[in-house]
Structures are given as C-alpha cells and as structure tokens.
Amino acid sequence: MAFLALQLLFRRLLLALPILLCVSALVFGILRLLPADPVAMSLPPGATAEDYEKLKQAFGLDRSLITQYGIWLGKLLSGDLGGSIFFRRPVSELVWVALPATLELVALSLFLGISVGVGGGLAMFALRGGLGEQALDGATTAMMAIPEFLWAILLILLVGVSLQWLPFIGRLGPGIQLPPTITGFLLIDSLLAGRFATFGSAFTHLLLPSIALAIGLAPLVMRVLRSSLLETAQDDYVTQARLRGISENRILVRHALPNAALPTISLIGVQGGFMFGGTVLVEMIFAYPGLGNLMVDAVRNHDLPVIQAVALIYCVLVLGINAVVDVAYLAVNPRLRLAGAR
C-alpha cells in the first residue's frame, strides 16, 4: 500500500509539472494583457516620464512577453519569486509569512467541514424517512444558499459582536505574544515553545473563519454521503450482511461506509480546491493575514510579481489536495490497489 501510494504521488508530481507550467504561462500572459499599469501606479510625485521609462526597464516590462516570461520562469526555478512592486520587498518573504496562516485556516476548515459533513451524512442516513432527516435536509439547504462571505459576516455579527463568544480579528488576541518562528505555523510554533495561551488564542481566532469556510463544504458532503449510503444500502452484500444477523451500525460503519465514501472523497478533493479560493474574501473580512489578504493587496495595486506567485501557490495547493485525495481513494478502494499492483 505504501509503495503504491508513493508511486501514485510520484506520477501525480510528474503530471503536476506541465500543469504548473501551463498555469504560470496563462496567469503571466493574462496579467500582461490587462490594460493596467503597475509602474505608473507606483510612481511618486516628482517622477517624470523618463523615470517611468527607466522603471519599466528596471522591471523588465519593456521586453517582449516571451522574454519576460522566460526571465521570470528562470528565476522561479532558482527559487526567486522576484520583488514586489508595491511592498518593495522580496515576494518570497511576503509569501512565507502569509502561506502558513492560510494553510492553518484551510486545514481546520477541511477538518470541520469533513467532520460535520460525514457526521451529518451518517445522521441523515440513520434518520432517513423521518422528521430528523427533513430537518437536516432543510439545514443543508440553508447552509448552501448563503455564500461563505455572507456567513462570515453573519458569524461576526452573531458570535463575535452580539454574543462575544469568539474573536474575529487577526490571528492572536491583544497582549498575546507571537511565539518564536520555527515552522511559521502559529499553532505548531506555540506548542513547540510551550506557550499554551498563545495556542489557545490562535485556535480561537481560527474558529470563526474556519466555520465560515467549512459551511460551504459540510452540507455538500452530508448530501453526497447520504445519497451514496442510500444507494449502497440496496446492494446485495448489505442485504446478505443483514441476513447474517450483523447489526445495522456495524453494517453501516464496516461495510456500507467504505464503499459510499468514494464519491464523497472525490467531492472533498474538488471542494477543497475551491476552499482556497474562498479564503480570499474570508481572510479579508476576518482581517486574517494569509495569502488571500496578500492577494487582495496585490490585485488592488496590480503588483504583478505577487499576483503571479500567489496564483502559482494556489495552484500547487490545489494539486496537493488532489494528490492527497488520490491516496485516500487508494486507501479505501481495494480495486484500485489491485489494479495498481497488477
């Protein structure tokens, strides 16, 4: 199994390279075709038309699109993401501060979304045909009908402002000191440094934005899992298990769920990718300093190097999630393992 998983990941990596190349070329090309001017935006008072031309040369924006792309790609391969036009700092420096924040947010959102989704799906299946299922069905409809940025605002108003249960600004409470940077992940670094108050503050600050993002995933998982379970429940092996006198709970957990999980895993893979897109608005609303917020600043200022870098990182993250989903698929589907072994 481990060998097959590694083989699969290696294949995925090989496939990812041309995808990344295409995405980078696409993003690079589209940004250059937009009728917007990052150099003019960054000119201070006192600058002249000659200064504009000099800066354009300095940023390489006077060269052909292909030359520009070649230079950028060459630097990228050597680990240089370039310099930000707006921030006047290396892009890598900006990204390495923001990326762990977004990864923590998405990880917790996925955990919450999957947990609630799977739990809810099982509950809907168990309560099928009754009022409980209808109530849960209504709840999922409501969750899906409202976009995540609106959930974010509702959660702030209800949980943050009115009830004051959870914080909703930034990553840490006032007076809580940052732990020394070891991994960049606040939760991990605070635990490594033994700062449990910092961990608690970071965790509570993550909750509301994570819930806002998870609300987009959980109802879909619930519905797909419920449908798959209903279908699986009709299969012969489930009927035979019942005839052998195995309890309903055991049939559900040991037999029906692993088979019904396959479409759900595919869905999580797709929605997990969308979740990164959702972080852009959610991070802005919660003043959460991740990649989404960085992207908003970069887009507002037409900061090409930052937009390119963040877009590429989003692409890598989505491909990463897909690879993880493939491995999960392999783990729960014996037919794939057999096919792989052959």
């Binding site: 300095a58 940025f149 609106l150 402002v161 909703f168 600004i169 930034g170 006032p174 003043a287």
Partner: protein
Amino acid sequence: MTMIDRRSLMKMGAGAGALAALGVPAEVLAQAAARGQLTLAFPADVPTWDPNARTLAAVQSLYKLVFDQPLTQNPDVSIKPALVTKWTLENPTTLALDLRSDVVFHDGTPMTSADFRFSFFERAKLPVPEGGRRLDTGFIWRKVTDIETPTPTRAIMKFSEPMPSAVAWLAFLCSFVVPKAYVERVGLAEFVAKPVGTGPYKLVEYQQGARIVLEANDRYWDGKPAIGRVTIELVRDPTARVAAFESRRADVAVDVPIREAQRLATQPGVSARLDPIADIMLLQITKNGGFADDRARLAAHHAIDKVAISRALFGGAATPISVPAAKGTPGYPPNYDFAFSVERSQALLREIGHSAQNPLSIKFASSNGAFPNDFEMARAIVQMWRRVGINADLEPIELSVYQERLRAGTLPEATLFSWGNAVGDPEMYGGYLLDPKSIFSAFKTDEMAPRIQPLLTETDEAKRIQGYRDAHQFAAERGFTIPLLQTVKTIVHRNEVAVTKYDNGWILPHTWSFKA
C-alpha cells in the same frame, strides 16, 4: 470568484446595530483604558517599515508613530517645527535648517544632522541595483545636490534649482529621518524587520497585515505620549471595523462608512466625527470626444449639484469645492464660487447644439470602492447630467487601469478621481494636477504651462500662493477640471478617548488621551 458587493455589506453592517445592542460588556475595554492601552481599528498596513521607500498617504500616520518628520503640521494643517526648529531660505537654492539637540532614536543614540543628510541625500542618491528601484525620497528630493552639516544641529540643503515646496515636503509623505548608524550597522533587511526611529512610539510587535503594537517612547522629545500602549488592528473590511468597534474590541475605528458612523453616534458612550479633510474628489477632464468644446465641459460642471451629493452621500460633511484645492488651504481663492446652475448649463449646451432631446454623449469612468461612495457619486452625476442634456456612459475602472489610461492619454472625457494632499500646499494640488508636464495631469493644455511652471521655482511665497489661486480659478473657469468635494474622514470612538482631529485626516494616537 464571488465578489463582495459593498452596498450589501453596508446593509449588513446597518443590520448589525440591532444585534450589537444586545448587551456588550463595556467594561472589557474600560479595563484596558485604565491600564493606558488603546486599540485602534485601522484600514491599511505599511508595505514596508522603511519610511523613505513609499509615498503612501494612507499610511503616513502609521509611520509618524514610529518615525519623525523634520517638520510636522498643526491640526489646522499649518506647518510647525518638529525635528527642525527653524528654517531659513538663505537664497533661492539654499535652505538652512536648525535641528533639535535633544532627540534620541529608540536605541538611545542621538539624532544629528548626519542622520538628516543620510535620510534626504545619501539614501536618496544611492545607486539603484539591477532590477531594483530608487526610494521614493529619491524622486522627491532629486533637486538636492548636497546637504552640508557644519554642526550636529545644523543642516544646509543645497538645490540644483529653487524648490519652493521644500518646506512643505519636509512634513509630507515619506520624508522621515532614519538612523544612519543603525541602518549601516544592521543593514536594510534588519532595519525593516526591527525599525528604529525617533517617533513617539516604539514598535514592539508587528504581524504583517494583522497587527501593530506600539509602546510609548519614554524619551520622546515632545513628551511621553499620554496613551502608553497602542494596538493597531489592521482591518481592511469596513464592516469588520464597525464590528470590531461594536464588540468593544477596538476603542477607535477610522474610515467607517458614513451611515455607520451616523448610526454609531446615536449609541450611548460613543462619539463619531465626520469631517472634511484636505484630500479632494474631482473629475479628471480631457478634451477628448464630446468635451473638445470648452462650453461642453463648463456645462457639465454647472450641472453638478455638489451640495446635494454631499448631503445624500456624506451626511453633508463633504465641503463642495470650486477649484482643485481644499477650502481654507493657501491655494484656494477666497470668495470664488463656481455656481451650480441648471439654466446656465442648458444655455451653454444649447450654444453647441445640444439639449435634453439631442443630448451630448460622453464617456465617464469611475472607480468602484477605491474611496468612499465613489461609484454612487458617479451615478448621481450621470443623473444630473442627463437632466441638462449630457448622456454619460458610465464605466467602472480599477485604479491601475486609470493610471495606464492617464499615462497613455486615453482617459475618457471625465473620470472620477480622488487626490490626497495632507500638507495642503498648492503645488501638490494644481502643481501636479494642472501642469501639462506632470504625470498626474489629465488635461494637457499649453494654456496652463505658463501659469503653473514658473510657480514651481517661485521663491516669493506671496507671489507663489497668488499664482496658484489664479491658476486654479482659471482652470475651473475654462473647464480644465471639475472639482467636486473635499473627502470626508470618519472616526468613531468611545467617549473616554479624547481624539485630536486633524484637518488632513491624520490619525495620531500620541496626540490623544483618556479622559479622567
């Protein structure tokens, strides 16, 4: 990608009022206040902690908390001494400055004329690395040929040609003094990571895009700030800033939507300020298409009821302006008023063969969300124009697109734009907006060149100011620009906080205090 609709966000924010009224423990922040701590919800972060790198009006206040400028401004925007105690124009190209002798950087080293020279000459003239760019101070102080430092408290600036706005620039945007010895010892990267200034606060914690924590500088030359610790929560979303204030997670919130500020002001224990500032909103005009004829542009100007726009969108707080300068600043001609007159507008349009039945068609661009109520204002103007016989095709654009079109000379007939000028000097209004050589001017006409360009080197201050007043008025009367309103700054704060209001919109907690 789903985009936030600002209008719906504001509506949601309005709905927050009812929820927020459901009991908020005011004692939470009262305890912090008792400890001399203040939390401020602020909309923008510094791009870098190098204060000389960028000319960004939105964050000048943040830099001013950690660093000092040679000169500063009073609440009424007049220039006042800071690190520089006295300035004398010895001749048209020599400006002599006396510096304070009691100023120390946060690391305890004294600030001297060597630091001044380093900040305004040596750094500005540094060779540009491959693929890099000069600091913005390098563009602003390009006329400086040398800064002599005969004593630690005297600096003499030498210019290649007269720079009458030099004094104003010493209090403007990125003109900050940084420590020469520290920067040279630790290098730029370390300086940006651990900035050291002479400002009223020391930076004790910085989370990029999230939070700035400042502690009062005990040895500040202007006295230790009354508020000992300031936490600045960087909250971009205006609704979230309102929520931060309502949940008592912030004592003060700035740049909240006008209607939210008005609503919050009705709550007990809360004060809200809606004040016009020195920044202005105007229509950048070109003579393209339908605006080739002076009369068409003047008709468009006469048709705009600025008072009505101010009342409808800014709670009446946005002061209407007739020239591209804020009222009360030196370059604003006293007693001049460009009249709102539908009849006058219609008459001018009739002269060029247009009426409501045969409207003049123009293109009109506006940002949407770049500054408060921009697109709403543009839509109101479209309606006002339609009434007199101007049919404007309104297009939302990004600021980056505006800049590209401005540079390429392809802006439409009118573009709604916001112009910042915290220092209030007329050069930073008409000098940039009307000079055909300026990269910021939209209406390129040789008629303005002889009126503006001599003023850029005019050292007779009275003559310079009068020249700008005349040029501003001339431009308005010829339809080279359509000034609209002064920008409005909103500040909501708990009554316990005594906030000093600056006419240029500065947010400076070291000038605030907690009421007893």
